[in-house]
Amino acid sequence: GAGVSQSPSNKVTEKGKDVELRCDPISGHTALYWYRQSLGQGLEFLIYFQGNSAPDKSGLPSDRFSAERTGGSVSTLTIQRTQQEDSAVYLCASSLGAGVGETQYFGPGTRLLVL
């Protein structure tokens, strides 16, 4: 079956512009996660959705970052006024439920480069 998909796969933008990154989770998965992967820094948690609600936004690095999820499915991560330090791979993952031990399935990521 289809896995987690993300678009665009690559995005180059100029400093100060806004960008939107999209995630399509596996059908039926109620939990959705956004992570950021910077070179040599591992994966950094950004935000978690259960359905359309975001019980944990603790990882968002600044108020320039926001995310929403609609219809319990697609999610969009928006970065306003991008900065060069926002350059990274943004990964989305989904899981069937939100219990501890639920396997998170990752998409291929969106590679963001801010010039």
Binding site: Q41, G42, L43, F45, L91, S95, V100, G101
Partner: protein
Amino acid sequence: QQQVKQSPQSLIVQKGGISIINCAYENTAFDYFPWYQQFPGKGPALLIAIRPDVSEKKEGRFTISFNKSAKQFSLHIMDSQPGDSATYFCAASMRGYSTLTFGKGTMLLVSP
């Protein structure tokens, strides 16, 4: 504050050898410890996971060893193959939470 420390940063192993990657944590509220494997250009994929009530879990050539008192866990890859060349991440999640805290990753190269 890095809550899960992973070492080494990179590792080169000969084909047929044993690859060992180590992780350590401080937060005793962690109670789920997965390992993820990531190939270039792909997202991470779950490889194997363990709960703290067992000291070892084996799946094929992959084994997790868990030392609760030392707050350490490790991944052992037996009979390492060139196809195992990838970046490996350890992770942990806290009791009652599903979000994962990841280590910084280990880039493994298995030479033919």
